[in-house]
Symmetry: D3
Subunit: 235 residues, 6 copies
């Protein structure tokens, strides 16, 4: 199962829009619970944009680990089939006490062209995983293998990650501020308004840097808005 790819133009817009700006626009649409919280980027300088694939772990239970945890399990199948431009999002219940991937699986996702991996569990071999070069968001490093805390169970269903629901096919965007989930139907509008707001905010920042108070300027009143529109209208 590979979701419809992102149109290149939309992907490019999302790549330019900060996660903070996208978050503000989603809030205007009434969406407040769309951030994957408690994870941090191994490569904070890398912007992530992709389509969500999902993988679900359940708490380790010794009898089930024997049936589901070993060999070519759900985790490995997910990494072998993640597609170009996809973000593999893993439900690990916020559990920090084991790795949920290591360098070999990170390499596999990278080789498949995946855009990123997001897990609300830990990462093993954190230095090697970082060196692979695929952006990874995780709750931290832990040396233990998956089985200490988890059984890889199933994939391609809606999951909870970092307190947010992620549905396969959702758009996932990440930067140094964190990771956000965007319903596909809203992505175009949210990207456009976020970029417009970014432009206005950059202009406001210039005025503030020049010594203007935020009163009336942030948000802009009619006077400032007029001046902004005039400047932006210049050829």
């Amino acid at each position: 199962m590979t979701a419809a790819p992102l149109a290149p133009e939309l992907r490019e817009k999302l790549r330019r829009a900060p996660v903070a700006a996208l978050s503000a626009q989603l809030r205007r649409h009434g969406l407040d619970n769309v951030t994957i919280d408690g994870v941090r980027p191994l490569l904070p300088d890398r912007k992530v944009v992709g389509i969500a694939r999902t993988l679900r772990f359940l708490p380790n239970r010794e009898d089930l680990f024997h049936s589901h945890g070993r060999g070519y399990n759900a985790q490995k199948r997910a990494f072998d089939t993640v597609g170009e431009g996809e973000v593999l999002v893993i439900e690990a219940r916020g559990e920090p006490g084991s790795g949920t991937l290591g360098d070999i699986l990170a390499l596999r996702a990278h080789a498949r062209g995946a855009a990123a991996i997001v897990t609300d569990g830990g990462v093993r071999d954190i230095e090697a995983v970082t060196a692979v070069g695929i952006p990874v968001y995780a709750v931290g490093a832990h040396p233990a293998v998956l089985g200490r805390r988890h059984i890889p169970w199933d994939a391609d269903l809606a999951i909870a990650c970092g307190g947010a629901t992620v549905v396969p096919g959702d758009i996932v965007v990440g930067d140094a501020d964190g990771v956000i989930v965007i319903p596909p139907a809203l992505a175009q509008e949210v990207a456009d308004t976020a970029l417009a707001q970014e432009d206005a905010d950059a202009w406001i920042a210039e005025q503030v840097r020049a010594g203007h108070p935020v009163d009336g300027l942030f948000p802009m009143n009619a006077t400032w808005r007029e001046r902004y529109d005039a400047e932006r209208a210049r050829p």
Copy 2:
């Protein structure tokens, strides 16, 4: 989907075996991660034995609540179809900030003959739910409706509840100590050895009450074991 019912004799044995005794026997089989933790019984005097049915909630996400949260949703379908002698186990991610059932749904499960409800979320109308008479285990009371924190999503799949994995068809047993999940294939043996251990422990308790040290007695050495066997062998 209704799982194979428990044989009456096995159900009766499990009803007599304390959860603590079953837990100790499961540990002998290498199963340590089988307790649903962080929940407490509304009716602590009631022993619970049943077959697991499952229901999964995901974190509230405003756009998905509109599509999945309203009307005859997954939650309501689960309560309308839970079977005689079944325990409805709900994955609510340990979130205390909303109810995950109220008195009407508790009544419905009770009317269907369900054995109990176990949720690692809250309960609304806790007095009314308690009055219904069906045993309920939950993390606490909260007045808010489900939608404050959750979207009812799907049912009849393996879930996480209170840190334990619960698979539909597992046997669920609860008492004042908590709730335990027993893989069906082990239930008969675990019930038998738990009851045998209970008998031995009751006899040990008598000796301790009479003033004997636990040294050599708990666990029993050969001398005490012999005496125990002799007493139990008497007509």
Copy 3:
């Protein structure tokens, strides 16, 4: 400062409406963050309705405790001036490691006719406080005096308690499910619709008890609604 008292008729309606029902109606008005979470009632059988008075504690800081913590401090002034029918709500930052009131202050509030005390801190002399008879909600018992964790600082300003903002003059309602804060302007409407919903829910409960599925009934479809209206219209 004593807030305008509750009209007796409104107070009576709020006394009859469960907190869970009021919570559901507030949600319909877009208010989800109005519950004081993490507190439990010392007298779970007592319904609470009153007008909020507020008291704010800050973290103990040794130099400030000397200036603000002793003698006739903000805490004692608040208990000496809380009015008839008021609920004294205390900001204690969820800190369980000290008492925030004891039996003498509980007696004083009771003597003043206060409706209840809500604190997201601990209670000292929990048995004596319970015996006073004024409803108290708290995070638990702790033997230490206030000064172990707090400085009583000021009163009659908006505060945070149990994760909710409470403004003096808000209406506070509590029962076994917890405590809710109602903006005064919404109270009449919320009380009326909550009672109407309670009536409908009680009727639905009867049908469920009689064996009807919740499908179509909870919430009611047109057929059930018609039947309900007809029954309620009977003399």
Copy 4:
């Protein structure tokens, strides 16, 4: 090793003094970190006074469990040797995920005349343990045996329990408010002043019940103090 027993008169005074009153007096001596927090009494109506014996558990480590966890281990030796009037205090690191004692060990401590058991871990067979009649303070119920989370390691050394340091020979007092640790050298003075304060507080409570403000009365100013002294001086 059995500590010097409490003098009967001191024991009686401590039995009459509420933990809250003792806590306030210890604070006057600069002792703020003497409460065992996060535990609750299985028998809230029972006052506890005794001399501390200690037992220390370490986190389960599979290789060490084999050498230290089985047979007549440190836990069982402690229960076999706890003395008349002693309180067995157990360091379980606040871990709720297993029992740290069950009914047989509770019976043994009871048969030895122990005053109470305090553990910042769980209790198995909570109903049976409660029925034994020895006061127990614990963080909650859990069905699992000790070995799920702990190795019984050693006894009769200073430990941490519920955030407080407990040294063998300390005096331990518990009631519904919680458990406090009193250095033996301070016990006599603290008990005397606590009882005196209790008497004064009871008299203050009477005045407050009669409608007096706490201003000037709690704490008492010279006028009230004079009146109090006069009344207490009456034959």
Copy 5:
């Protein structure tokens, strides 16, 4: 409201004294609860010294957000009026789930000459805020706007931040170890003794580096003290 500025000489001493050294001296004055915990510096190499200004957020409540959250609210007024050399300290209740400032407000504080911003909430646009160059301490990054978790409520009153009480006019000092609050009346003495202790500790460090045990040296006994005094007395 702008507090009395720090005397340049005192400011310079505080700039040279490590927060750890100031903390040790405050403890000698009996002040243990003066650290703002749980925050980390965005610019760990930058020493911060300034006078506290305060800003208080309350939990988001939908009706109050409409009246207090929008336009030129308390947050924006605080950033527009923070003074030269002041540290804006924000009470955000330790809540990590939203930003409490972004780059435009950081720029404004920087343009006003503020010494730093300390918030026990999150930061949006963390890369842009870091680039502004004003030192910021926060609990982490979060992309969401303030309103997801907070209402900006009032300013210039005593607040709680990171578990410490901060009064407007307090002196705030921060470095890589964290942030400390110093009552103004103690600042001169604490700065002087901290610098003296730093000098002694640096000398002790030299001796330890040279292979001396800490026994007798740290803290210094009479012999070492004499040698230290002699060396420091040399021209």
Copy 6:
């Protein structure tokens, strides 16, 4: 007390084996609870291998601090006697609210040739401690002296650190993934199999980098194993 030193060859193998690889091998021996969790390295690039020495802190209790906390206490004695190649492991109960060592003690351990310091408490003077050059693992930075939260109590006994039991003489290995405790009797075998597994994993990583799926390769089936053995057998 100085434990038997590590044989140089074993030390060298452990230095080359990643903690993640050692963890996986210990799990094969049934040891899952051997990681010191919740600590992070001040020098993440430095591999640590050494023999455990232990030091135990108890919660600050004001009367005991006077007798045990000052002068040449257990903490200072431990740093003065830690041996060449030893890792000083400190039990601080995960408490972040004070330092548990500063630069002078770090220098002393470094001068004694200690391999590292591991504490599940905080570090004071974090920049100076980092500059000393001895690897330190801690829960974070805090400016306060030890006595704010702890009393240094005793040394050279089994302790709990970061959720793991550490016995003096255990082998401690740390890298960017975290810290692991190895029972000495298993060290040789675990090091050998970990290095062998590392070699195999490196070869697997090459295949994955070349585009092979993990199916059949990770873990290796017979075909891949044969190819691997053949390549490794080449001169």
